[in-house]
C-alpha cells in the first residue's frame, strides 16, 4: 500500500513546478500550461485523498476542477489570440501598456 503522504508530496512538487513556470517564463502559452499543471497537481491530491478516506466528494470536486480548467483554457487562449492580433507578440515582458 502506498502511503498517502507520498501522493501529497508528489502533488506539492508538481504544484511548485507550476508556480515556478508561471512566475518566470516569457511565453504566455507556457504560462497557461503552468496553470494547467497546477490544476492537475490539485486534482492528484483531491483524488488521492478521496481514495484514502473513502469519500467520493473529492472526486466530484476534481470533476468540477476539470470543467473549470476547460473553460479557463478556452478564455485564456482567446485572450492570447486577441493579444496576437493587437500586438503580434506572445511575450509577457513586451506587453506593458497598463504599467503605470
Amino acid at each position: 500500500m502506498v502511503p498517502l503522504h507520498w501522493y501529497m508530496v508528489l502533488s506539492m512538487t508538481v504544484f511548485s513546478i507550476g508556480v515556478f513556470g508561471f512566475l518566470s517564463r516569457k511565453n504566455i502559452i507556457i504560462i497557461f500550461m503552468s496553470i494547467e499543471l497546477m490544476l492537475n497537481a490539485v486534482n492528484i491530491n483531491l483524488i488521492a485523498l478521496s481514495h484514502y478516506i473513502q469519500d467520493m466528494r473529492g472526486q466530484i470536486l476534481a470533476f468540477f476542477v476539470i470543467a473549470v480548467a476547460a473553460a479557463e483554457a478556452a478564455i485564456g487562449l482567446a485572450i492570447v489570440i486577441a493579444l496576437f492580433r493587437n500586438k503580434a507578440t506572445a511575450h509577457v515582458d513586451e506587453v506593458k501598456e497598463m504599467r503605470g
Binding site: I47, S50, L77
Partner: protein, 170 residues
C-alpha cells in the same frame, strides 16, 4: 512492494516531465511533453481506483485542451522563439518563491491527520461500479453545482467567441 515501485516510477516520471514542460525552449515540445504528462497522471488515477476520472483526464485534457493549445502554438513564430531567452528578468524571484511554497507546504504535511473513513469503501465501489457511484452523487447531492458548472462552460464559449472575434460590427 510492487505497488510502491510502480508509484515511484510514475512519481519521478511526472516530476521530470513537468520540469521538461516548464523549461523547454520550443513551445511545441512543451505541449507534446504535456501530453505524456497527462497520460501519466491518468495512469496514476487508475492506480487510485478511479477509472472514470482517468477517462475524463485523457478525453478532456489530452483530447480537448491540449489540441486547443497546439492550435494556438502553431500560430506563433517559432523561429523567433528559439532565438530569444526563455525566462523573464524576474526568474530568480519566481524560483525562490516556488521553492519557498514547496518547503512551507512540505513542513505542514507532518501535522496532517486524515478524516475518519466515509461510506464509499472499495468493496462498495467495486459492487456498484465507479461511474455509477459518481453519477448518482453528481445528480443528487451536487445537482446545483453541476448546473453552475454548465453555466460556466456556456459563459466560456460566449466569452471566447467575443474575445477572438475580429471586430464587433457597430
Amino acid at each position: 512492494m510492487i505497488q510502491q515501485l510502480f508509484f515511484l516510477y510514475f512519481a519521478f516520471a511526472i516530476v521530470g516531465i513537468s520540469l521538461l514542460v516548464v523549461t523547454r525552449r520550443n513551445p511545441v515540445h512543451s505541449v507534446l511533453w504535456m501530453l505524456l504528462l497527462f497520460f501519466h497522471i491518468a495512469s496514476l488515477y487508475l492506480f487510485l481506483n478511479s477509472e472514470f476520472m482517468a477517462a475524463i483526464q485523457v478525453i478532456v485534457y489530452a483530447g480537448g485542451i491540449l489540441v486547443l493549445f497546439l492550435f494556438v502554438v502553431l500560430l506563433m513564430n517559432i523561429r523567433e522563439e528559439l532565438r530569444i531567452s526563455k525566462f523573464i528578468g524576474a526568474a530568480p524571484t519566481g524560483f525562490t518563491f516556488a521553492v519557498a511554497i514547496l518547503v512551507l507546504v512540505l513542513m505542514s504535511i507532518r501535522s496532517f491527520v486524515a478524516a475518519p473513513p466515509g461510506i464509499y469503501s472499495i468493496a462498495l465501489i467495486k459492487q456498484e461500479t465507479h461511474t455509477k457511484v459518481l453519477g448518482k452523487l453528481l445528480y443528487t447531492e451536487f445537482l446545483y453545482p453541476f448546473e453552475v458548472a454548465s453555466l460556466i462552460l456556456l459563459v466560456a464559449i460566449i466569452g471566447a467567441i467575443v474575445l477572438a472575434k475580429r471586430r464587433l460590427k457597430p
